[in-house]
Structures are given as structure tokens and as C-alpha cells.
């Protein structure tokens, strides 16, 4: 957890305790496959607030234990509903079964700038740390997850 980190200049992600426990539950339920979903909220590059966490299907057909492809239909629905509520898609979350909550090279290669990528580590079915990352100049920078 990085909530005690006070380094200046890092992106801050407001993710409530309740939202975190929901993400952990979904990540654990998806184990041993990767689980994923959408983060709806508000904010700018410096700080984003998550208003709602959503779960989406992982459409990766063959290796869903270590890859994910977020269902674009779920993305579309979340995007439409977020706009209706005056909100926006601020990012996505996915789980790393038996891996640290650190972006992989695959994550980096497939990432888009402007979104927050939340990774939930799951070890033997039990979700652990949650860390947030943003792509800046082709590499991931870790943000601070705060309540």
C-alpha cells in the first residue's frame, strides 16, 4: 500500500475502502484467471476520484490466467452511463494472479496514456495489495492510492 507515501508530484487516486474491498472480492473470485473492469469517476491528471467500480468480462480466449482483454461492450456501456451522469472513464483495474501488483511488459505495451491502471495482486486466491499506475512517456509511473 502506498497511502503513507507523501512524494510530491505523483498522481493521486481516491479509491474508497469499500471500493477496494469490492475489487479484492472480484479479483479473488476470478482467481486463477485475471479479472478486470472499469473505473468511473472524475478528476484530472493530478488527482482522480473513483465514483464507481465495475466488473467486466475477461474475453482473453486462451490464457486468461495471465492475460486479459476487457469486454468492449462493458466499456461502451460504462462510458455511456458515465457520460449521462456527468462522469468519465478514469481508468481500469485488473488482477495479477500470483504476481505482484506491478505492471508487466504486456501491460505497458497495451496501455493508453490518460487512464489510471489499478492492479490487484491475488495470491492463492486471496487478494492483496492494490496499486495504481499511469503511463507517462511510454513507461508506468506509480500513483498514490488514497481513501
Amino acid at each position: 500500500m502506498t497511502s503513507t507515501d507523501t512524494a510530491a508530484g505523483r498522481m493521486r487516486l481516491r479509491l474508497g475502502e469499500g471500493q477496494r474491498s469490492v475489487l479484492r472480492r472480484w479479483a479473488g473470485a476470478g482467481y486463477p484467471n485475471e479479472a478486470c473492469g472499469v473505473l468511473i469517476g472524475t478528476g484530472d491528471a493530478a488527482e482522480r476520484t473513483v465514483a464507481e467500480v465495475r466488473r467486466a468480462r475477461n474475453l482473453e480466449p486462451r490464457r486468461s490466467t495471465d492475460f486479459y482483454v476487457l469486454d468492449p461492450e462493458a466499456f461502451l456501456a460504462a462510458d455511456r452511463e458515465a457520460r449521462e451522469d456527468g462522469l468519465d472513464i478514469v481508468g481500469f483495474w485488473h488482477s495479477h494472479p500470483d504476481s505482484p501488483a506491478v505492471p508487466s511488459e504486456t501491460d505497458r505495451a497495451r496501455a493508453w496514456p490518460g487512464y489510471v491502471y489499478v492492479i490487484v495482486s491475488v495470491r492463492s486466491g486471496r487478494a492483496g495489495e492494490i496499486r495504481a499506475w499511469t503511463l507517462e512517456n511510454e513507461s508506468f509511473q506509480e500513483g498514490m492510492v488514497i481513501a
Partner: protein, 499 residues
Amino acid sequence: MTTDIETGGSASVAGRGARVRVRIPTPLRAYTGGAAEVEAVGSTVREALADLAGAHEGIGASILTPEGERRRFVNIFLGDRSLRSAQDLDTTVSEGDVIAILPAVAGGAGAKERRLAELRSEIPEVTPAEARELQREGALIIDVREPDEVAAGTPVGARRIVRGFLELRIEEHVDSTHTPLVLMCAGGVRSLLAADDLRRLGFSDVRSMAGGFDRWKGEGLPVEVPERLSPSERERYARHLLIPEVGEAGQLALRKARVLLIGAGGLGSPAALYLAAAGVGTLGIVDDDVVDRSNLQRQILHTDAGVGTPKVDSARERLLALNPDIEVRTFPERLASDNAERLLAGYDVVVDGSDNFATRYLVSDVTTRFGIPNVHGSIYRFEGQVSVFWPGRPEAPGPCYRCLYPEPPPPELAPSCAEAGVLGVLPGVMGMLEAVETVKLLLGVGEPLVGKLLHYDALATEFRTFRVERDPACDWCGDHVESPPALIDYEAFCAVGAA
């Protein structure tokens, strides 16, 4: 036609088209001045996107390929319908339709990456500069890349063990499982896996070089281009390359080696054939004799057709027929005090296959002076003996021939083969033992026959080894000798004529 414009977008499509709303995802809003939604005009999705691209420079290339296909990492929806194919983009649009552009969201821990991430957390990684510093302090850099990668260069001083043989060959390079090791590959991934292998074998100080050789080279650290065997050499010496004690490094050492054979007779024939076959790069042969039919009972370098020709020419032809890659230098001279130093200069090992005491003393004295090993063989009817005389041996000086025989025997007690006869196959055995000792010396493997005399009795089928002590008071190699005496008249010393 210009239409609308809450966002500054414009429609450039001629004629009538429907006005549609295009939802822009966060990553592409840099192109729309931050707008989350813009209008565009067109009668189809493709036309609307073209209009969008015309109004917002840069956005078109993020959505469509130059051929007009949807980019793989972008999803395009018209309403709820996902437009996947090129034809889908030609779908007609109506006034007020919503086109949503959504990035494809994907990623994942990746099994391979997961493993690498774990290894990175367990195995220390060092930069090339740090590896260089560790190397200076005694660490070994192990280059685990494939031979074709190494051919373009390797860190100076690095050991080369291809990854597939790492566990089998690492012990040839290190004396202790505590030796600090830095594994290196091209980019730093294979080295991490290799480091893990060695760690499991019990090596305690194993690191991986981050960025591998690419980064080493990029940072301007010293590189050497290693010598390599050619594909045909790999084929020829395949059975050598399988032996850890030889391998490519050993075979290259043989290729670089220069061995001088004194005599192309009974001992020199098998020795020369096997040394040529083994790939000793330069073989010198000193012999002033011509082939006689009576030689062919044992001197297998020569042929019946060669009777009457110089032995060195006959030998050269036969050796190059066996191995055309080597160099054979021929000296049709009789070794004597006035040419011995010239003939022996530059050789790594001398194989003495001579048949007379004068030459043996001369070979011993010059090799002692040059500090190089003298692989000695001699034969008598059914018996033979072999030894390596090497007072200049760096790790432990051995005796010279004079330590064993300070004085030549009386001529009547030392008959030559021509006088006493010899079983034809016997010099074959002894000459091959000389070849074995020579190859061992060149490879630096095993225990050479230094300070020992191997005696073979063919009738009793008995090999016996005798210790031969170095004489500290020897006039030629003793402790008091700072430089050996000048060469003498060996014929007079032995009081024998040519054998």
C-alpha cells in the same frame, strides 16, 4: 460544408451528410482540445471519421490505418453495434447517431513475465559498469549467448558457456561455488534464467547483467571478438568438442599450437598422424632421410610409392591428405648444433622421435634452453619408453634428459633399430603415447609425464612407470644454472656416427 461547432470541429464533406456525435476517449482528447465529444458530418461512418480526421489533425491516424482499416487496439461502435470489419465502416449513419471510439483495454501479468518478475526480485541485477568492476575484483562474467551471437563480440575476459551447457560446464571455469558470477546474455532475460539455474546448483554469489551485451556495448565497455572454429572444423572435431576438457577453447588452443617433430620415422609417423588428425595447427618435421622400403614395416607416414623420396615430403603429403587445414613445415636437414636453435625456435612442444643419442642430447639441451617440453620416446626391439622432459615447467620443474642419463652409453650398448631390429608395431604404441602427452600439454589437462618414465614391455605386456628425479646439480637444468651452457659437438660427445 462547415457545420456545427461547439468544439471547433468542422465538416469538410461535400454535399449532404448526417450530423453525428463522436465520443472521444481520454487518450485521444489531446487532439480535440480536451473535448469528450465532437460532431462530424458524413453519410457513412467512414465519411464521418474522415471529417473528424480533417478537423482534428492527428486523430485519424490513431483510429484508422493508412489503408482505412480499424486499428487493432481501437474499438469503434455505432450506437451499440461494434464495427469490426472494413465494410462495417461503410455503414450508413443517420442524423444524431453516436459513434463511440474506445481503446481496446488489455494486458496481463503474463506467465513468462511473472516468472521473470519473481526472479528479478530474487536475483541481484547489476549494470554492465558494475559487472566490469566486479570482474576487476575477481568475479567471472559468463556469456551464455549462442555461438552466432558471440561471434560479433563478447565482453573482454568473459567466459563463454552456451546456456544449454551451463550447468554441465560451469565447474570447468570456477574453483568454488562461492566464486562471484555475473551472467550475461543479449538483453538480460536469459541471463536471469541462467542465474537461477546456477543458484539452484548451489552457487552462492550469482547475478544477472541488466540489459545484457547490448547495453555493455552501448556503454562503450571493452569488447573482444572471440576466435571461432569454422563450421567444417566443428564437423571435423565434433568428438573433441563433446569432451569438456577440450571443447571449443581446447580445439582453438590446438589450432594455435606449433609442434616440432624430430624424425619422421617409427615414432614420428604415428605421432604426426594423430597430431595432424587432432588439429594441431602447425607441425614442423625435421628429417634428412629418404624413404627406404625397410622403413615401411613401421613408418606408416610413408608409402611404397614414396620409396626414394625425402621423408619430409612424403610425410607432408600424407598429413595434409588427412587434414588439409593444418600447416606442415618441412626441414630436410639433420638436426645439429648449428641449426638446432633455428629449427626449434617458435615451437611450443618438441616431439623427439630420433634414433640416436647425439640428437636426444641436442634436443634436450635446446628445449631446456628454450624452456619448452621435450616429449621423448625411444624403442628397442620389444620395449619402449616415453617421458616428458621439461625443466622449464612453470608450476613444477621436471628433469631434463641429462638428469636421467648424464652420459651417453658406450656405442656398443646402444644399437639403433637398423642394427638391432624392432617389432614394427612397437614404435606405433610409443609414438602414440608421445602424441597423447603432447595433446595433454597443449590443452593443459591431466598430469603430464613429467618426472616419470613410462616403460612398455610388449612381450610381457607390462607398462611400468618409474620416477625420474630432477638433478639439482645438473649442469644444464640444475639449481645453480642461470643460463645453460653452449651447445657442444654431440656426435663427438656420443662417439657414434649417424645411426
